[in-house]
């Protein structure tokens, strides 16, 4: 009987040599006359173990990792047995994975991303079938009842956004998926697109049916060529099998989908800048109102949602609003795909109900820093998110709890820094990033960020530190209150949190420890 060996084809696995591992496994098997089929699955999200090779056994899939090409002959010599130093046992029982609550990511790593048959065999397209039996307002009501809030950053309730578009007059409406994922420390969108692209296609189709839109665009950043290829493949296959097109599954409803490639501009993740970019213009932020829900792409009512928001819709329509909203805490319902990155021993994707603490993520899952040194600061929510010192790590992951700390959850990205991090340098980087990536429309952001770099440089060289720190706070205040969008409006989060929690790195006396 053929033994199936799984080798991920997610770009994180490819980036550490998975293609070569796969080729060598096939070659070794042939040389030894073994009956083996190499299957290219998605990633499990246990990224420190990539390349994570899995072997099908009667008990389930057993894992080996991280496997380098050089390890392959030895793994064959050892018969892929549990005694091998790289053996991990049954993959589903690895605590990091077993303790997760995977709803949006239920299929990743298990299925073959290219295979529609595999998608269907693992509950794929059940959500769309249910949706097609409902009236549009009922679909929207289900999404509203699930409590799903936008996962792209602002955490706005998805159902309410959809309802606005549903009620907006006109027959020409659009679904736009924000797959710009520019935040450092985030890769959940990438993993969805590369490892389970059909779930995003399904989610967007449901959105289209729900609000009466017949066309959708997925705006993917140019840094993700692999994700673009996977999505285009999935769209072609879905269309070929009647899941997209003029008559979706014979329902008489039309929905078409297209991928648009970004071009290396962080600001194009902001929803109105993204719409400008899809229209073929520079990614300059639009003033709101009007909301995109009323006047969005080409001036028409538009749903614009993050990849994770849209990819979560199928499971909600499959299992029901109550099932989803039973997870979570407070007003943060369902699960949050946490992305653990930076200086951490076990980085990867962790999907959990809201409410788990940062400390549990850092140590219970992450296993502490990669360097083995003490963790100093943790930035949550991308380059515009605050730096959290140890005194704040018992905060539960919950939108409101983070807001109370003057911090954000954003897209769920967590970047860990060990005790060698220079927080003044990181604050400078935040200002510099804003200066490079500002769309230029408003002065506080465009000019303020450039001045911010200069002021921090003066602080770091010790010139007039008291006056300069005063100036920096003033500047941040202007950016916070005077910017049109969150690019300028949130750059003060990393800057001021670094200054407030780590004053010693700015040449100031350390008061925080004594105060705590």
């Amino acid at each position: 009987m053929t033994t199936r060996i799984y080798v991920p084809c997610d770009s994180a696995a490819l980036a550490v040599g998975a293609d070569e591992v796969a080729a060598l496994i096939a070659a070794e098997a042939a040389r030894r006359g073994l009956d083996i089929a190499v299957v290219r699955n998605g990633t499990r999200g246990l990224l420190w173990l990539e390349t994570l090779v899995e072997v099908e056994t009667p008990q389930g899939r057993t894992g080996f990792g991280p496997v380098d090409a050089a390890d392959v002959p030895g793994l064959f010599d050892a018969g892929w047995a549990s005694g091998h130093p790289l053996a991990l046992g049954l993959v589903e029982e690895i605590p990091y994975l077993a303790r997760q609550q995977r709803l949006t990511f239920a299929r990743i790593g298990i299925t073959e991303p290219r295979s529609l048959a595999d998608y269907l065999a693992h509950d794929g397209y059940r959500g769309l079938r249910n949706a097609l039996a409902l009236a549009p307002a009922e679909i929207v009501a289900t999404v509203t009842a699930s409590g799903l809030r936008g996962r792209g950053g602002a955490a706005f309730p998805t159902g309410i956004k959809w309802n606005t578009v549903l009620k907006a007059p006109g027959t020409e409406k659009y679904i736009v998926c924000n797959a710009d994922e520019g935040d450092s420390g985030t890769f959940a969108d990438r993993i969805i697109m590369e490892s389970d692209p059909f779930v995003l296609v399904e989610g967007m189709t449901i959105a289209g049916i729900a609000v009466g839109a017949t066309r959708g665009y997925i705006y993917v950043r140019s840094e993700y060529p692999h994700a673009i290829a996977r999505l285009e493949g999935a769209i072609a296959v879905a269309r070929h099998h009647g899941y997209l097109g003029a008559d979706v599954l014979g329902s008489g409803r039309a929905f078409e989908l297209e991928v648009r490639k970004g071009a290396g501009a962080y600001i194009c993740g902001e929803e109105t800048a993204l719409l400008e970019s899809v229209e073929g213009k520079r990614g300059i932020v639009r003033a709101k109102p009007p909301l995109p829900a009323l006047a969005g792409l080409f001036g028409k009512p538009t749903v614009i949602n993050n990849v994770l928001s849209l990819a979560t819709v199928p499971v909600i329509l499959d299992k029901g609003a109550a099932y989803y909203q039973d997870y979570g805490m407070g007003r943060s319902r369902g699960t949050l795909p946490v992305q653990l990155a930076g200086n951490i021993k076990q980085g990867g994707l962790i999907e959990l109900a809201f409410g788990v603490t940062l400390r549990e993520i850092l140590y219970g899952y992450g296993g502490g820093s990669a360097s083995g040194r003490p963790i100093k600061a943790v930035q949550v929510g991308g380059p515009l998110g605050a730096y959290l010192p140890e005194s704040q790590w018992d905060t539960p992951l919950d939108y409101e709890a983070f807001a109370a700390l003057w911090a954000v959850l954003g897209h769920g990205g967590i970047v860990v820094h060990d005790d060698r991090a220079d927080m003044a340098k990181l604050a400078r980087y935040a200002m510099e990033f804003c200066a490079i990536e500002s769309c230029g429309k408003c002065t506080p952001c465009r000019i303020g960020s450039t001045r911010g770099v200069e002021v921090i440089d003066k602080i770091r060289t010790g010139a007039q530190p008291v006056q300069q720190i005063h100036l920096l706070r003033d500047l941040c205040d202007t950016m916070l209150n005077g910017s049109l969008c969150a690019m300028g409006g949130m750059t003060p989060y990393p800057v001021l949190s670094a200054l407030n929690h780590f004053p010693q790195d700015f040449g100031q006396p350390d008061t925080s420890r004594h105060a705590a």
Binding site: D19, E20, A70, S184, S222, G264, K281, Q379, I436
Partner: protein, 174 residues
């Protein structure tokens, strides 16, 4: 670290002749139509095939979309990805974002600068290598990361960098 498996690395960046650029443009104009929302796909198509967006073709592009030259120029320059000069044979992009910084991307960049003999945004003396920044490749859990002619590599130590460079430029690198 064994040899590089990704074929993209061995493919030198394309550079088309003048006549070829005209053919590429004609094909793109015919295929994409003249709605302004096709401007970015058009620029991507041109850069993918010609290696860059020749500034002397801006008037033709503007005319095709019924835009001013300034508008097209404005779009091209707004986006970091578009280049208006032929690329070097081998473009190395080092991630400069926070997660990679936390795993030593600063010293990786210094190593790359020393090895290639140029700074960020610069080119090696023989013109074959170019060094550029990039702000996150979505490989933040396997930092530091970089790309070589768009192929992504993660957990890149200085030693792995040297091996990748040797594989990327088998003939030039002696």
């Amino acid at each position: 670290m064994p040899a590089v498996a990704n074929p993209a690395v061995d493919t030198p960046s394309v550079q088309a002749t003048q006549a070829a650029v005209d053919d590429i443009l004609a094909e793109l104009f015919a295929r994409l139509g003249d709605r302004q929302d096709q401007l970015l796909p058009m620029l991507h198509g041109l850069q993918d095939s010609a290696g860059y967006i020749p500034p002397d073709r801006v008037p033709a592009i503007a005319a095709h979309f019924n835009l001013s030259r300034a508008e097209v120029h404005g779009v091209i320059t707004f986006y970091h990805y578009f280049r208006t000069e032929p690329p070097p044979r081998c473009v190395v992009q080092v991630c400069r974002a926070e997660a990679c910084q936390s795993m030593g991307s600063d010293s990786l960049l210094e190593h790359a600068e020393r090895t290639l003999g140029c700074g960020l945004h610069g080119r090696s003396a023989d013109g074959a290598f170019g060094l550029e920044p990039v702000y996150c490749l979505g490989q933040c859990a396997s930092a530091p990361a970089l790309t070589i002619n768009e192929a992504v590599f993660a957990r890149v130590s200085p030693a792995r960098f040297d091996a990748l460079m040797a594989a990327a430029m088998p003939r030039e690198a002696v």
